[in-house]
Subunit: 187 residues, 2 copies
């Protein structure tokens, strides 16, 4: 069930459902309906549930791919020998992408406190990866040393949510980012 089904039509449908779900959940967040996914994918509602037994599982299938991709990028940036731009570039990219990725932001929001525990793996890994970028940028003197992961995570999620919910033009978004980046600069 987690692997590809044997029949070609089933495999095709599964792929199309995943693709459409990514767009639908990105637009409407986790509250978007499974029926809309089915309709846009051109399949019956039952087909969606056959491939992904619950809405939660479908949602996670979509999210896992994103978080994997993001984590990978973060880890490769962590090897960069320019930790400052690596950190700020990653931060900026997540915010820039936030507009059409509501479900991701929602999931990432709950990546929170070590004690929380009910966060999924993907969000937690990403938070971790951001932590590495942050520490390296701090060691390189590009980010103030009194900024902890908790507040950087909150700012990242906050600005992303703002961008996702408010229709902000290019220039305003750039200035909002600049304000946060200046605030993160060493004193």
């Amino acid at each position: 069930m987690a692997t590809q089904p044997t029949r070609a039509d089933a495999r095709g449908n599964r792929a199309r459902i995943l693709e459409v779900a990514e767009e639908v959940f990105g637009r409407g967040g986790s509250a978007a309906s499974t029926e809309e996914v089915a309709r846009l994918a051109g399949v019956g509602i039952a087909t969606v549930f056959r491939h992904f037994p619950t809405k939660q599982i479908l949602l996670e299938a979509v999210l896992v791919r994103h978080f994997d991709r993001l984590c990978e990028r973060a880890r490769s940036l962590a090897e960069s020998d320019d930790p400052g731009p690596a950190f700020f570039g990653f931060f900026g990219q997540i915010v820039a992408d936030a507009a059409g990725k509501l479900a991701i932001i929602e999931a990432f929001t709950d990546a929170g406190g070590d004690v929380g525990g009910n966060a999924a793996q993907g969000p937690r890994d990403l938070r971790e990866a951001v932590g590495v970028l942050l520490r390296r940028a701090q060691d390189a003197g590009a980010v103030r040393t009194d900024a902890g992961l908790d507040e950087v995570h909150a700012l990242l999620v906050g600005v992303s949510r703002a961008v996702a919910h408010i229709r902000l033009d290019e220039r305003a978004r750039a200035r909002a980012l600049e304000i946060v980046f200046d605030g993160l600069a060493p004193r």
Copy 2:
């Protein structure tokens, strides 16, 4: 209907419903159910709908009070002869209050673009009032002059949303605010 009903029990119920609704919508946002309001207020569902014909009207009744209060505070701060602390203090207070006021943040999020038009009056007024505080703080040299209302509004909403959604301890919240405030300081 907008005014107090004549019978004492009706007046009492109306007040209790408003009080409970404030708490329920604050906790669960505008998605919270009318039935929960009725249950916690100790009245039947019909009583809620008699006093507030639709959920939207109930929600607005709750929100109007808040926005009025906030706008008033903002306007009185705008008379202060210390525009810098007035602006930052107000910003910080909204963020600090955000935790239990999900519905407010949601409404304020949509106060956006002048063109938007579908935002309610309260949120738009508050945005306006923040604009006044911002301009005065800029004139006094306490806030960088290249920060526009659009991005300040986005940051205010973003940080508030982050605080409302993430369980952030006192210290982390203070540092997140400090980062944003430092970013807003003149270059």
